[in-house]
Assembly symmetry: C2
Homo-oligomer: 134 residues x 2
Amino acid sequence: MKLDHLGIAVPDLDAALEFWRDALGLELVDVEVVESEGVRTAFLPVGDASIELLEPIDETGVIARHIERRGPGLHHICMKVDGLQSHLNQLNAAGVQLVDHQPRPGAHGKSVAFIHPKSAGGVLLELAEPGEKA
Amino acid sequence: MKLDHLGIAVPDLDAALEFWRDALGLELVDVEVVESEGVRTAFLPVGDASIELLEPIDETGVIARHIERRGPGLHHICMKVDGLQSHLNQLNAAGVQLVDHQPRPGAHGKSVAFIHPKSAGGVLLELAEPGEKA
């Protein structure tokens, strides 16, 4: 299980890039709008993981609500796994509270599922499996 | 610039390990008490970065205060850099607000410095340079 990316909620993606890309010197490799989540995302690699900046594109999405409640900042972490459904079954059997009991389609053709922060010490944890199968 | 670790504030390290090590299956490689910061830390590798669980050992440390104010969860991220002082000088010149203008000793013999969350979109960002020099 490896870290895939680290999601950071930002009110303004262009302003955020002034820090992460321009001041810090990270490379911006991809900007993608994910309409279903109400976000515009930017990926900046940091070793074999990435930073994902998440800007709300409407007021009802999860990132807009997160910024309203908690302010901008760290939002979630995502681990890359093989056999996502089998991981979910094991976690469920271990009493871990899941947001998604089955994988659902995520960005970049991945299958993803979220674990509830109540079971992960306040951390919103995403598990993602790369694949053509999504 | 690569991700070194991701710090997670936990009220109880042993309870947190029941999730991150036992349920999720991550390997625990190191537990260290850092008296000066008032924390007990545990490192669990996730690819070429690590998750650092941070448990307060007294009520006055930064992690105790973070948990009191914000609850448990994601606390900071740390990037590995070469030439930390030169990075700090460049960031300062670019108008970035620094917590530390000079590197100070961190865990594992590293030199570390923090960037203020005001300049990093609400993220507490640590820069760390490995070295015998610390």
